[in-house]
């Protein structure tokens, strides 16, 4: 039976200001759902609510028809999460961090260590895996996060800017992993600013701004509906970003005037 993740009218407020305002959508298996929006649109807040890190003020998150709060432990066992910022315990080494995650995720020790060694080798981290994370570059930290989110073979992947800092080859590998996971029937929610990537790998796109969904459809259908050539132009139209060029010109003139 295919399992779905359903979000029903969830709202999250900070200081009484709604950051996510009564959002509803369904994430299905066999599709990669792109979640787009400008800074402060509410993307990260939504992903955090889906991962159980934040509690919504109202609304429900249902997995396979039942509220995730009813059995949060079971739900957490099934999710893999990559946060927007790679906040990792920097006093631990890469391997130690992954061991911590694997043990918390109840993976038997032997399997865990084999998995970690193999995955780190595949991602080119085997030389540095005993170094403290404080010595890692942004890309290396991101690789650790990727391994940490996948190590338990989750059914739901919640990805918040997962490619930031990655080198080109790892990016390509990761995109391929996502496509294969999607084929296996995993639910993937992919939040990002990078429109080209979203356009290429996502089957469906949700565009949000100021906590409200503006569009929810496949990229092809959105292009047809709005009669626009690319996701970028759709995004610009929906977010009212037509005057971007003017902003760029303003910035350049401000920089020039300071130097002269």
């Amino acid at each position: 039976m295919n399992k779905i993740l359903e979000i029903r009218k969830i709202t999250k407020k900070y200081n009484n200001i709604p950051v996510v305002n009564s959002i509803s959508f369904v994430a299905k298996p066999y599709e990669i759902l792109g979640y787009l929006g400008p800074n402060g649109a509410g993307k990260t807040t939504t992903i955090k609510m889906l991962s159980g890190l934040l509690e919504p003020n109202s609304g429900q998150i249902l997995f396979n028809g039942s509220d995730i709060d009813q059995n949060i432990f079971e739900y957490k066992k099934r999710i893999g999460y990559i946060p927007e910022q790679a906040e990792l315990y920097s006093h631990l080494s890469g391997k130690e961090y992954l061991q911590l995650v694997g043990r918390l995720r109840l993976i038997p020790e032997k399997i865990l260590n084999k998995k970690i060694d193999y995955l780190m080798e595949q991602l080119g981290l085997s030389i540095d895996m005993h170094l403290p994370i404080s010595n890692y570059s942004k890309g290396m930290r991101q690789k650790i996060l990727i391994v940490a989110s996948l190590i338990h073979n989750p059914d739901i992947l919640l990805l918040d800017e997962p490619l930031s800092g990655l080198d080109t080859s790892t990016m390509l590998i990761f995109k391929d992993i996502l496509r294969q996971f999607s084929k296996q029937g995993k639910i993937i929610i992919y939040s990002s600013h990078i429109l080209e990537v979203v356009e290429k790998i996502c089957d469906r796109v949700i565009i949000i701004d100021k906590g409200v969904i503006l569009a929810d459809n496949s990229v092809t259908q959105l292009k047809d509906l709005m009669q626009l050539p690319s996701l970028e132009s759709i995004f610009k139209r929906l977010i009212h970003y037509e005057n971007l060029q003017q902003i760029a010109e303003n910035i350049i003139s401000a920089i020039k005037s300071k130097n002269d």
Partner: protein, 573 residues
């Protein structure tokens, strides 16, 4: 020619501007130490702390110099002031030592300095001079604040002595303490530079941390053992003991004495030693700074070698895990606790602060009794010898209870939140096993050989087991209802309400310490009663464990502290 002069002038002026900015930057960084997290360090707190130290030194000065108000009655002269000066110098130098140790990583230009500054158009000479200048200013500021009250006392209290110039008296006190402070600071810097030269980068990190904590312990111990030395100083001086040459504060007492009376040949010699020592250490520091730069450049972008596990160690680790930490969550929390305690300087320094006084107290008492009574004193069962681990366990467990609540990196604890898949029992079990295997057992292993040497195997085992049982009970009591992850949950200052509860804590300590030490002596003299003690202690331990298991009803761990009720009623949200 004029153009060339203009260029030189512009270069100098630019360098001076850079020097000014850098000196300010380095000086500000020195006021934020390694002991506390940056966000926990408020300038007001630092000022309050320095004023407390300053007033304390002033108060001690006032107490020890009060007889000089009636100098004729006590038949005192200028040449007697050296003793009081030595006491203040010792305290001042120990405090400067503690402050220097808390700035251990900032004595030389550190990794952050190099990363941020080396790419900027700043000449190395400007960097080094600015660093040195900021250190000098730092020591002058700290030393001045610490001695402001004591200087006033050293001006006015001996004021009616014949041949005493109050102005020179105050100046001599201030200068000798300043030089003493510089000596301590640059002596610590010298030790660090020596380690830097002797060891490779990877080993240096570990050795450096070891020295940092040992020196901190050493400086803190001065406050415990110095009163004993203070009493013996006059006789040591009368007998022209070698101690007079080897005790650094006396070198600076020599400078003080030289400025006010120049009467004593031993102190005159010490004055020269003091001046040469300061000069030499500053010169050594200046030589070591370029070495630190070279070292950084050499190691920059060089990967550390992969640590190779010794197979025997790996095998033992596996057996240990199979025996005690079979549950993966317990193992995860156990390892996180151990690794964090091992690697977090902030937490280690805090623990050292809790442990420094009892350790120094017991060691100094041990040495004192050993010298006074001889080895035979320890062959018999006595209160002092029996009480050592009992006292240490109290400070160790209470210290751990206090430090585990400080998070190491709060923003990274999302991984625990997202991976919390089972109820909290196993998290707490893993943590408690970490406490037992990393702290309780090692102390027993350290103290056992001492008892074995003096009392033989049987009594040593009895007493070690006795202390272990006490420690386990104490641990259960101290961590009852603990529902947090060590080093990973939020901490709200003032939650422990130590300012209200400290009298109970003190009373509790004395009650615990004296009753259990007396019981320890009694049991050692009547070993057949151990069976009763162990049975009762075991039942109590099981009772506490049962109570704890029964009480754990919460589904989730606590990551965020509930604010105090008074904060909720402010109505600011």
């Amino acid at each position: 020619m004029l153009l060339k002069d203009m260029k030189i002038f512009k270069t100098i002026s630019n360098e001076l501007r850079q020097f000014y900015s850098l000196s300010r930057h380095f000086l500000t960084r020195l006021f934020y130490n390694d002991l506390l997290k940056f966000e926990n360090q408020q300038r007001e707190q630092q000022i309050v702390l320095l004023v407390i130290f300053s007033v304390s030194i002033g108060y001690i000065s006032q107490t020890i110099l009060s007889p000089y108000l009636w100098s004729k009655m006590f038949n005192l002269s200028v040449s007697d002031l050296w003793l009081q000066e030595t006491l203040i110098l010792s305290l001042n130098m120990a405090l400067i030592g503690v402050i220097t140790i808390s700035n251990w990583d900032k004595i030389f230009l550190d990794r952050m300095d190099y990363i941020n500054l080396i790419s900027l158009p700043v000449r190395a000479r400007v960097l080094f001079v600015a660093k040195f200048f900021s250190l000098l200013i730092f020591i002058v500021i700290i030393s001045t604040i610490l001695n402001i009250f004591s200087t006033l006392i050293f001006i006015f209290y001996p004021g009616n002595l014949p041949n005493f110039n109050p102005f020179f008296g105050g100046l001599a006190h201030y200068l000798s303490n300043l030089l003493g402070s510089l000596f301590v600071f640059f002596a610590v810097a010298f030790i660090q530079s020596l380690l830097m030269i002797l060891f490779k980068r990877e080993i240096f990190k570990k050795v450096s941390a070891f020295f940092q904590f040992t020196l901190l312990l050493g400086f803190l111990s001065v406050f415990v053992w110095f009163p004993m030395v203070y009493k013996s100083l006059p006789s040591l001086k009368d007998n022209a003991s070698n101690f007079m040459d080897y005790y650094p504060p006396l070198w600076f007492t020599g400078i003080y004495n030289h400025m006010i009376c120049k009467t004593d040949p031993i102190l005159e010699r010490n004055c020269m030693i003091g001046l040469i020592a300061v000069f030499l250490l500053v010169a050594l520091y200046l030589t070591a700074v370029p070495i630190s730069l070279r070292r950084y450049l050499k190691n920059y972008a060089v990967n550390q070698k992969r640590i190779k596990y010794i197979s025997l160690f790996k095998y033992l680790k596996h057996i240990f895990q199979q025996l005690f930490l079979k549950h993966p969550v317990q193992y995860a929390i156990f390892m996180f606790y151990i690794k964090t305690l091992k690697r977090s300087k902030e937490h280690k320094l805090k623990l050292i602060l809790y442990l420094a006084f009892p350790i120094s107290f017991f060691i100094s008492r041990f040495i004192h009794i050993y010298i006074k009574e001889g080895e035979s004193f320890f062959w018999s069962v006595n209160f002092y010898f029996v009480s050592i681990p009992i006292g240490l366990y109290f400070f160790l467990i209470v210290g751990l209870r206090l430090i585990v609540i400080y998070p190491i990196m709060l923003e990274a604890n999302w991984i625990f939140k997202i991976s919390e898949l089972i109820q909290i029992k196993n998290y707490i079990k893993g943590f408690k096993k970490g406490l037992i295997f990393s702290s309780v057992l090692p102390l027993a292993i350290i103290t056992y050989p001492l008892y074995h040497y003096f009392w033989g195997m049987k009594l040593a085992i009895y007493h070690t087991l006795y202390c272990l049982f006490i420690a386990l009970l104490l641990l259960e009591v101290c961590f009852i209802n603990f529902r947090k992850l060590p080093f990973a949950s939020e901490y709200v200052p003032g939650k422990l309400k130590l300012k209200y509860f400290w009298p109970y804590l003190v009373l509790g300590f004395f009650g615990y310490f004296f009753s259990l030490s007396k019981l320890g002596v009694y049991l050692l003299n009547n070993p057949h009663y151990y069976v009763f003690f162990f049975s009762i202690a075991f039942i109590m331990y099981l009772g506490l464990r049962f109570y704890e298991n029964y009480k754990i009803k919460e589904l989730h761990l606590i990551y965020e502290e509930e604010p105090e009720s008074v904060m909720l009623t402010l109505g600011l949200d």
